[in-house]
């Protein structure tokens, strides 16, 4: 990978990290309504996957969707504003963290229902195939979601109809407060085999690996529609949601997280590829400024008007 490319991916990952760290503080300050699921430790996955996607490609996401959303290139201020429940949010403050969407960027929404992104994205892939423009769809889901029946339905249909969809599993070993191995008698590799589906597993914390694998899987799909699975072994650093004290995790596991930090690994890779310390510091400064500006703008933005609760339930008739 070229240095400029790697630097760009690093930048995107750092943006997600800093954005979530900002949200974490805002949450602690009582500024974020509702549940907040942070993806700290998982940033390489969406950045790597999105590096293979364009705005016309579609993705859908789950409850832990900030990274997926930002990596798809949505407006940062609108993103913050949405999570703060502001009128200027991407969804006018009606969705919040679990429902950020930006259809103009092909981001079909975070989702509060585990597994729900799967059929939605499968349908989006069907649309892409019918439209013959070479676009593809990607769906992010966690290892916990592997237990939902709808996964099975979608693997089957995607394979049967050769749909251009990338199933991206973020396997962080946890489903809320339970280790996923107590919830699953199978794994995605075995399921992929059962459906004769192309499957790759990567260290989801190594950006170059994720990007390379995503590129390899997505490229051919554009001309010869067919599904593929990308399983990313990754790490959930924070609790299931903010406020979760994680007393169910043992100290050893938590201590080991630091060494696998995707941001750190990406910075090391950058340095190894010959990046000057300046470059890395410069990126950090830029990102910080960008986050600060966006967060400030979002904080200053107005709350939605109460009178708007009935807006947008239905599409107004054209005039």
């Amino acid at each position: 990978m070229k240095l400029t490319e790697l630097a760009d991916l690093y930048r995107r990952m750092l943006l997600i990290r800093r954005a979530e760290e900002r949200l974490q503080k805002l949450f602690a300050d009582g500024q974020v309504p509702g549940f907040l699921h942070l993806s700290i430790g998982q940033e390489a996955v969406p950045v790597g996957v999105s590096s293979a996607l364009s705005d016309r490609d579609t993705v859908s996401s789950n409850h832990r969707g900030h990274g997926h959303t930002l990596a798809k290139g949505v407006d940062l201020t609108g993103f913050f504003a949405e999570i703060l429940g502001k009128a200027t949010g991407l969804c006018k403050g009606r969705g919040g963290s679990m429902h950020v969407a930006d259809l103009s960027k092909g981001m079909l929404g975070a989702n509060g229902i585990v597994g729900a992104g799967l059929p939605i994205t499968t349908g989006s892939a069907l649309a892409h195939k019918m439209q013959r423009q070479g676009h593809v769809a990607a769906v992010y889901f966690g290892d916990g979601a592997l237990a939902e029946g709808v996964l099975h339905e979608c693997l089957n249909i995607a394979k049967l109809w050769s749909l251009p969809i990338l199933f991206v599993c973020e396997n962080n070993g946890w489903s809320e407060f339970s280790p996923t191995d107590r919830q699953l008698a199978t794994n995605l590799e075995k399921l992929g085999k059962a459906f004769a589906m192309k499957y790759r597993s990567v260290d989801g914390n190594v950006i170059a690996d994720v990007a390379a694998a995503a590129g390899k899987l997505v490229g051919p799909m554009r001309r010869y529609p067919a599904p593929a699975i990308l399983e990313c072994r990754t790490t959930r650093v924070r609790g299931h949601y903010e406020g979760d004290r994680q007393d169910y995790r043992d100290a050893g596991e938590i201590a080991a997280l630091e060494a696998r930090d995707p941001i750190r690994l990406a910075a090391e890779a950058l340095a190894e590829a010959g990046a000057a310390p300046d470059l890395i510091a410069g990126i950090a400064a830029e990102v910080d400024a960008e986050i600060e500006a966006a967060a400030e703008a979002a904080l200053a933005a107005p709350l939605p008007k109460s009178a708007d609760i009935l807006a947008d339930v239905y599409t107004p008739a054209e005039v």
Binding site: H99, A101, I120, T122, V150, E153, N156, I157
Partner: protein, 327 residues
């Protein structure tokens, strides 16, 4: 004009919509070569090919969910769920996804999908193949629900549903599939029916019966019977259940001052409850007597013939409800 059956009107609406708009496609179980369990999609695979007519595995959640995703990606899917009872497997996709996407995304887009499904009894199909569950969907903000009572409406409401930018549940009635009616020969002359508007099927001034689906014909029969006694009953076909034509019902009530609501679904917590409740509020001053309702009793739809006959609403029960209101 040609006389056609209700099921053929559905088929014609699908055909015409697919001719008119290449983004309309069909998805469902055995809807291709088999033409659907009730033949609503007959010949459409031959005409439009497998890239417009998708025969799916038995995966109802995926059918509904794929419709949502395709609709968000520029298509106009029309999904078929073989029996309304099986929509129980699609509720997350319809209620948490299709219904909410536009609103919870701040009005960014729409979900122009249609889900067609037949409800109702009369086939001795038993408790898991006869249910009328439309009240569930009418309770969900973001969904629209229509229920055609005759072939012309089956055509017109389905065309309107497919044109509609928002998700529409089109509830057809199995027992009406064989019903005959006229449809114009020229495609341009075949009309869409506006979603949200009801229709006065029979004007009258003594009492109003609000009905939909199979209950419309029953209400007409009840009205015809009572006409012999000099009781003049107005019959309204709601056509659309969400939104429903509150104005039309209120206007009728303000002329007749008596109201009966009739449907095939279970009475308790059914569509009729909302109509009645609303009129007991905004129409209270117009009411001369109790609002009575006719629906199925509070039991699963039974299988055996005698039982199903006793279970399903009919003209006699609507007549009795009218008499009680007018008493």
């Amino acid at each position: 004009m040609t006389e056609i059956r209700y099921i053929k009107a559905v088929n014609q609406a699908l055909w015409d919509a697919m001719e008119a708009d290449p983004s309309v496609f069909l998805i469902g179980e055995d809807i291709g070569a088999a033409g659907g369990s009730f033949k609503a999609t007959r010949d459409l695979l031959d005409r439009f090919g497998p890239e417009r007519v998708y025969d799916t595995p038995i995966s109802e959640a995926a059918i509904a969910g794929m419709a949502v995703g395709a609709a968000l990606t520029g298509m106009r899917p029309v999904a078929e769920i073989m029996f309304m009872d099986f929509t129980t497997l699609t509720m997350d996709m319809l209620v948490n996804q299709a219904a909410k996407a536009r609103s919870m995304f701040g009005g960014q887009g729409s979900v122009p999908m249609v889900l067609r499904t037949p409800h109702g009894g009369g086939l001795n199909a038993g408790p898991q193949h006869s249910q009328c569950l439309e009240a569930w969907f009418a309770h969900v903000p973001g969904l629209k629900v229509v229920c055609p009572a005759n072939p012309a409406d089956a055509y017109g409401l389905l065309r309107a549903a497919i044109d509609d930018p928002d998700p529409v549940i089109v509830v057809e009635n199995k027992a009406l599939y064989a019903m005959k009616g006229d449809l114009p020969d020229a495609p341009e002359a075949r009309e869409r029916i506006e979603i949200g508007k009801g229709r006065i099927v029979r004007p009258g001034h003594d009492a109003t019966v609000v009905a939909y689906g199979a209950a419309v014909t029953m209400a007409e029969a009840a009205a015809a019977n009572l006409a012999g006694e000099g009781i003049d009953v107005e019959v309204i076909d709601l056509r659309s259940l969400q939104p429903w034509d509150e104005g039309l019902v209120l206007e009728s009530l303000s002329r007749t001052h008596n109201l009966v609501v009739a449907h095939e679904a279970v009475e308790a917590f059914g569509i009729g409850a909302e109509i009645a409740a609303r009129m007991a509020d905004i129409g209270f001053d117009e009411l001369d007597g109790p609002i009575t309702r006719v629906g199925a009793p509070f039991a699963p739809s039974p299988f055996g013939k005698t039982l199903e006959d006793a279970y399903r609403p009919n003209a006699e029960r609507i007549e009795a409800a009218l008499r009680r209101t007018l008493a």
